[in-house]
Subunit: 664 residues, 2 copies
C-alpha cells in the first residue's frame, strides 16, 4: 500500500468536512487594540456616549450636568420634593450635630470642627454628587483613623495647633487623592477593598472605639446620677439597635442622639454636675467656619505624615461613601458613576480643608436615616447644611453643658451598628476565604492598628486573586449521556469518560504565574488517567483534548507551556505506540513503525481557543506546529475526529501487519 494513504488517517477528510473552523480574529493595528484596551480599562462605562451626535450647545449643557448634577435635578425640583427633602434634611441635621461633635472628639479635634464639617462639605456635594440619598458628614472610622495616624506624629494635647493644622493638611491631600483617582479614572483601586475587607475593618474599628469609650463611660459610676443615665442610654440604644430592622421606627434612632444631648445637658445644667467631676464640652465658638488655607502645613517631616494619612483616610472614606451611595442607588434604581462620585467627594474635601473642615464622606447610618425619612434629591443635604449653619450662628452656647459621656454613648451607639456579625456569618456560609479576609481585617485592627488591619486584609485579598491565577482549577470532562455536551465529571457524576481520550478543561488564563503548575498538573492528570486505564483495562490513552474555552488569555510563558505539554504527550503516546506495536509485532519494533507514527501527528488537541489565545497561537507559530486540523471548535467535534483517527490507525496497523512492515 502506498504512503499517500497515510498522509491523513483514512477518511479524515470526511471528519474535516463536519468540522467548524476555529478562526483567528481579524488582525487589528497595534494602536487600535491599545486604544480599545485603554478604553476598557479606564472608561468601561463610556461616559462620552451620551454626547454623541448632539449639537454643541446641548453638549455644553450635558457637560455641565455631568460635572454638576444639580443642573440636572434642580430644574425639575418641585414643591413636593421640597417638602420631602425638608423633613429629611432636618432629621439628618438632628443626627449630624451631636454625631459631628462626638466624632471630632474621636479624631482628637475641637468639637466645633464637627459642626464646621457638616456645613460646607454637604453644600459642595449637593452640587456635584450624583447620589440622591447620601447624607454627607464626618464618619466615625475616618475620624478614628485620622486621629490615630496623626497622633503618632504630633501629640494633640501638647501641640493642639500643629495637630489641627496637620488635620487640615491631611484632609487636603485626602481630597486631592480622591479627586485624582476619579479624574484619572482609577476608581478600580477602590474595588480592591472588597466587601469582606470593609465588614472586618469596620467591625474592628468599632470594637477599638467602643473599648476606648468604655473607659469614659465607666468613669461615670462615681457620679451619683450616673447609673440612671446609663440605664436611660441603654434603653435608648437598645431601641436604636432594634430599629435597624424596623424602618418605621427609624426616627427613634434618628432622634435618640439629639434627645440624649438635650436630656444630658439639661441634667448637668440643673444638677451642676460639671462641678462634681462630670466633664462637659465647655464653650463652643459662635460663628461660621473660619478660613484655614493659611494653616496648611507643607514642611517636612509633617507633610509626609499628612500625605500618608490623607491617602489612607481618603481611600477608606471613598470606599465607604461609594459603597453607601451605590447601595441606595440600587434600591431606588438609578445609577451612580463611581469616578464622578470620587471627584465630588474629593472636591468637597479639598474645599473643606480650606474652610476648617476635616475628612467627610457619606456615612451609612446617616444616609439610611435620610433614605428612610423620604429624601428625594441632594437638596436634603442643603437643608441639613442650613440647619447646621443656624446652629453655628445661634445655638452653640446650648452645648456648653453637654456631658462628654453622652458623646461617648453616641459614639458607642453608632459603633455597635458597625459590628456586622450577621454579614460575617453570611461570609462564612458562602465563602470561607472571604470570611478569612474579614476576620484578618478585624483581628489586625483590634490587636494591631487600623493600618495593619487594612494592609493585612488587602494583602490577603490580592493574594487570593494571585492564587487563583497561580493555581487554576483543571477538570476532567465527560460526556453527558444522550447529548453532545461534555462537562466536568466532578460536577456531573453521570458524565462518561471517552475511552482512549482524556478531556481537560482549564479555567484561567495561562500566564507565567501558572505555566509550571499547569504543566505539572496536566502531567499528573495523564498519569492518573493511565493508572485508571490499567485498573479498568480500557483502551490505552491516545489523545489529550484541552478545552480552552475558559482560557481568557495566554502569554509567552503560557505558549512555551503548551509546547512542552505537546512534547510530553507525544513522548508518552510514542511509548504507548511502541507497546501497542509490540503486542501486534512481538519484540521487533522497527524504526519504520516509529516513522509511520508521525503520520498520526499530534496527540494534543485544542478546543475553542478564544480570540486572544488564537491570535497569540497564530503569531507564535504554535498553531502551525500543532497543525490547524488539531484545533476544533467544540469538544464533540474533537472527540469525533479523535475516535475516527483511533479506528483508522488501528485498521491501518492491522492492515500493515498482514502486508508486512517493510513495504512502506
Amino acid at each position: 500500500m502506498g504512503s499517500v494513504d497515510y498522509e491523513y488517517p483514512l477518511g479524515m477528510n470526511i471528519v474535516q468536512g463536519m468540522q467548524h473552523q476555529v478562526e483567528v480574529p481579524p488582525p487589528q493595528p497595534f494602536l487600535k487594540s491599545l486604544k480599545y484596551s485603554l478604553k476598557e480599562t479606564f472608561f468601561p462605562d463610556d461616559p462620552l456616549r451620551q454626547f454623541k451626535n448632539k449639537p454643541p450647545s446641548k453638549k455644553l449643557m450635558l457637560a455641565l450636568q455631568y460635572f454638576f448634577p444639580i443642573f440636572e435635578w434642580a430644574p425639575k425640583f418641585t414643591f413636593h420634593f421640597f417638602k420631602a427633602d425638608l423633613v429629611a434634611g432636618i432629621t439628618i441635621a438632628s443626627l449630624a450635630i451631636p454625631q459631628g461633635i462626638s466624632y471630632a472628639k474621636l479624631a482628637n479635634l475641637p468639637p466645633i470642627l464637627g459642626l464646621y464639617s457638616s456645613f460646607i462639605p454637604p453644600l459642595i456635594y449637593a452640587m456635584m454628587g450624583s447620589s440622591r440619598d447620601l447624607a454627607v458628614g464626618t464618619v466615625a472610622v475616618g475620624s478614628l483613623l485620622m486621629g490615630s495616624m496623626l497622633s503618632d506624629e504630633v501629640n494633640p494635647n501638647q501641640d493642639p495647633n500643629l495637630y489641627l493644622h496637620l488635620a487640615f493638611t491631611a484632609t487636603l491631600f485626602a481630597g486631592i487623592f480622591q479627586a485624582s483617582l476619579g479624574f484619572f479614572r482609577l476608581g478600580f483601586i477602590v474595588d480592591f477593598l472588597s466587601h469582606a475587607t470593609i465588614v472586618g475593618f469596620m467591625g474592628g474599628a468599632a470594637t477599638v472605639v467602643c473599648l476606648q469609650q468604655l473607659k469614659s463611660i465607666l468613669g461615670l459610676v462615681h457620679f451619683t446620677h450616673g447609673a440612671d443615665i446609663i440605664s436611660v442610654m441603654r434603653s435608648v440604644f437598645t431601641q436604636t439597635h432594634e430599629s435597624k430592622k424596623q424602618p418605621r421606627f427609624f426616627w427613634v434612632s434618628a432622634m435618640a442622639p439629639l434627645t440624649s444631648v438635650i436630656l444630658g445637658s439639661l441634667l448637668v445644667y440643673f444638677t451642676h454636675a460639671e462641678k462634681h467631676g462630670v466633664e462637659v464640652i465647655g464653650e463652643l465658638k459662635k460663628g461660621l467656619n473660619p478660613g484655614s488655607v493659611t494653616k496648611l502645613v507643607f514642611v517636612s517631616p509633617y507633610m509626609i505624615t499628612a500625605v500618608k494619612t490623607g491617602i489612607v483616610v481618603g481611600i477608606i472614606a471613598l470606599a465607604e461613601g461609594i459603597a453607601v451611595g451605590r447601595s441606595f442607588a440600587m434600591y431606588k434604581n438609578y445609577n451612580i458613576d463611581g469616578n464622578k462620585e470620587m471627584i465630588a467627594i474629593g472636591t468637597m474635601n479639598i474645599v473643606g480643608s480650606f474652610t476648617s473642615c476635616y475628612i467627610t464622606t457619606g456615612p451609612f447610618s446617616r444616609s439610611a436615616v435620610n433614605y428612610n425619612a423620604g429624601c428625594k434629591t441632594a437638596a436634603s443635604n442643603i437643608i441639613m447644611s442650613i440647619a447646621v449653619m443656624l446652629t453655628l450662628l445661634f445655638l452653640t452656647p446650648l452645648f456648653h453643658y453637654t456631658p462628654l459621656v453622652v458623646l461617648s454613648a453616641i459614639i458607642v451607639s453608632a459603633m455597635l451598628g458597625l459590628v456586622d456579625y450577621e454579614a460575617a456569618i453570611h461570609l462564612w456560609k458562602i465563602d470561607k476565604f472571604d470570611f478569612v479576609v474579614c476576620m484578618s481585617a478585624y483581628i489586625g485592627v483590634v490587636f494591631g492598628s487600623v493600618e495593619i488591619g487594612l494592609v493585612i486584609a488587602v494583602a490577603i485579598s490580592v493574594l487570593r486573586v494571585l492564587l487563583f491565577i497561580a493555581r487554576p482549577r483543571t477538570f476532567v470532562l465527560g460526556n453527558i449521556p444522550n447529548s453532545e455536551i461534555y462537562r466536568n465529571v466532578e460536577q456531573y457524576p453521570n458524565a462518561k469518560h471517552v475511552p482512549g481520550i482524556l478531556i481537560l478543561e482549564i479555567d484561567a488564563p495561562i500566564y507565567f504565574a501558572n505555566a509550571s503548575y499547569l504543566r505539572e498538573r496536566i502531567t499528573r492528570w495523564i498519569d492518573e488517567e493511565e493508572d485508571r486505564i490499567i485498573a479498568t483495562r480500557e483502551t490505552s490513552l491516545q489523545y489529550i483534548i484541552m478545552d480552552m474555552s475558559g482560557v481568557g488569555n495566554i502569554d509567552t510563558s503560557g505558549i512555551s507551556m503548551l509546547e512542552e505539554v505537546k512534547k510530553i504527550t507525544e513522548r508518552r503516546e510514542l511509548q504507548t505506540w511502541f507497546k501497542w506495536v509490540e503486542e501486534l509485532e512481538g519484540e521487533n519494533v522497527s524504526m519504520d513503525s516509529h516513522l509511520k507514527r508521525e503520520y498520526w501527528n499530534s496527540s494534543l488537541v485544542l478546543v475553542n481557543p478564544g480570540s486572544e489565545v488564537m491570535k497569540k497561537l497564530n503569531k507564535s507559530k504554535f498553531q502551525n506546529n500543532l497543525g490547524q486540523k488539531w484545533i476544533y471548535l467544540t469538544v464533540e467535534e474533537a472527540v469525533v475526529a479523535c475516535n475516527f483517527n483511533l479506528r483508522a490507525s488501528k485498521t491501518n496497523l492491522k492492515k500493515d501487519e498482514s502486508e508486512g512492515w517493510n513495504n512502506v
Copy 2:
C-alpha cells in the same frame, strides 16, 4: 381565562423536558475541600504518588532516591557514560576556572573564591540535583547582584575581611531561603519571575557589567600591545557569539576563555607587562577550601544586609538554575522537580557558605557547553570538581601573570550572550505586554539598580495579573450558522445575533476586584444592544443570557453583582414591557399588566455555571431567587427556552387584549 394558565408560559413544560439539569456538585465537608485546596496549592505534582502500595524497604529506597538522585543513576552508571561525562567535565572545568576567577572579581571578592565555589557546590549538586545537564558554579548576574548589594553596606576595599564574611553570611541565608522554598513547597514564588522579566533583567545586568568592564578594557590602550590583545579578543568573542547557533563549534566558545587566559598570561610573562601598568591577578593561595563557619556574621546591622542580599540573590540564582535545568530536561525528555531542585541548590549554598564559597547556581552558558559536550549524568560535575581541586592543589601559581583585562574580556564575552535581543523581539511580536515587562526590567536595571529593575518588572507582571482580574473581557455571542454553537461575534464575524436576546460571555472569575466593572460593562452592553435594536428595528431586547462557562469562581461581591444585574435587567425589561403594552393598549397601562408581568419571572438567564460557582449560587440563595429553571446547561437550550417564552408571552398578551384586561 383563568390565572392558572399564567403560572408558566404556555408549553414551558415541553421546553423543560428538553433541558439538561445544571447540577450543584455534591456537598463536601469543609476539611476535605480545604485539604484538597492545600494539596493542589502545595503538592500539584503529588510527590508521594510513587510511594503508594510499596513495601517499607522499597519506600526507604525510594525516599533516599528522592532526596539523593545519585542513588538512582549511580547503580546504572556505565563506562560509556563515564567516557562522555569525563569529556564534558573537563570541558566545563576549562570554562569554570577562568570564569570563576572573573566572576569573583565582579562580586568584589578575592579571585580564589571563584575556584573554591567551583569545587564543593558541584559535588553537593551531583548528589542531590535531578538535572543531568546543569553545570554548577558561580554566575555573572548573581555575582554582580551580591557585589552591588553588599558594597552599599561595606566598602570591599576599606574592609575586605568584613566584606568577605558578609558574602559568606549572605550565601548562607540565600541557601536557607532557597531550601526553605523547596521544603515548604513554595516553589511557585519563583514562577512570578516570568520569562520576560528574566530576559530583561539579565540583559540589563549584562549591559551594566559590560559598561563597567569597558573602562578596564579601554584603560589598556595606553599599553603598547593593548590594541593587539583587543583585536585578538574581539575575534575570539565574535566566534564565541556565533557559535551559539552552531553547536558543532561549541568547543570554540568553551575553550576561548582558557585559551585567552593562557595566551594573556604568557604575553604578560614574556613582556613583563605587569611592570608597565598592566594589572595582573597576583598570587593565589594554594590549597583546598578553608572552613568559614566561624566567619559568619550574625550581628546587626550587617546581618540585615546579609539576609536581604541573601533573599534577593537567592531567588535570582534559583530562577536561573531552575529555568536552565528545565530547558535541558525538555530537550532530553526527563522531568525536573522544581521543589526538589530548590532543596538541592539551597543545600549546596548552605554547605558552600561553610567552606568559603559564595553564591552558586547553574549558569546557562556553562550548562549549554556541558550539554553540547555530551554529558550523560551529573557525574560531569564531579569530574569538573576534581579538575578544579587539582588546579587548587597544584596549578594556582600559573595564574599569577594572568592580566585582569583578560578577565574583563571573559566577563564581557559571557555578558554579551545574555543580551538576548532576539527574545525581546519575539516578545514584542507575540505579546506587547510581556515586552513592556521585559523592557522595564532592562531599563530599571540599567538606569536604576538591579534591585529596582527586579522590583519594577515583578510589580508590572503582578499588575498585569491583577488587571486581568480587574478588567476581564466580556463578549457578545452569536449563533454560528447551521449549528447549535454560540461563539464570540468578534472572533467569528459570521455568527448571528439572536433577535430579542443578548448573549454575553464572561472570561474570568467574578471577584470583588471586578464586580463593579462587570456591572457597568454589562449595563453598557445592554445599552449598546438597545441602540442597535432601535437602529435595525429588530425585536426589542427581552432576555440577557450570561454564559458562565469561563467563570472559574465567584465571591460574595460577585454574587451581589449578579443580584444587581438581575435587578437592572428586570427594571429595563419592565420598561420595555410597558412600552409594548402601551403599543397594544394605548396609554392606559393598568397595574394589572404590571402584576401579570411577574408570571414571566426573570429576564436574566445563566448558562453552565461551574461547580464552584454553582455551589455558591446555591448557598447564597441566588439560585432560588433566580429560579432553577433560569439556569441552563448550554446556550442553545437557554435560547430555545427564551424564544419559546417570547412567543408564548406575545400570544398570551394578544389573547388578553381580545378578552380585555380586567378579567384576570
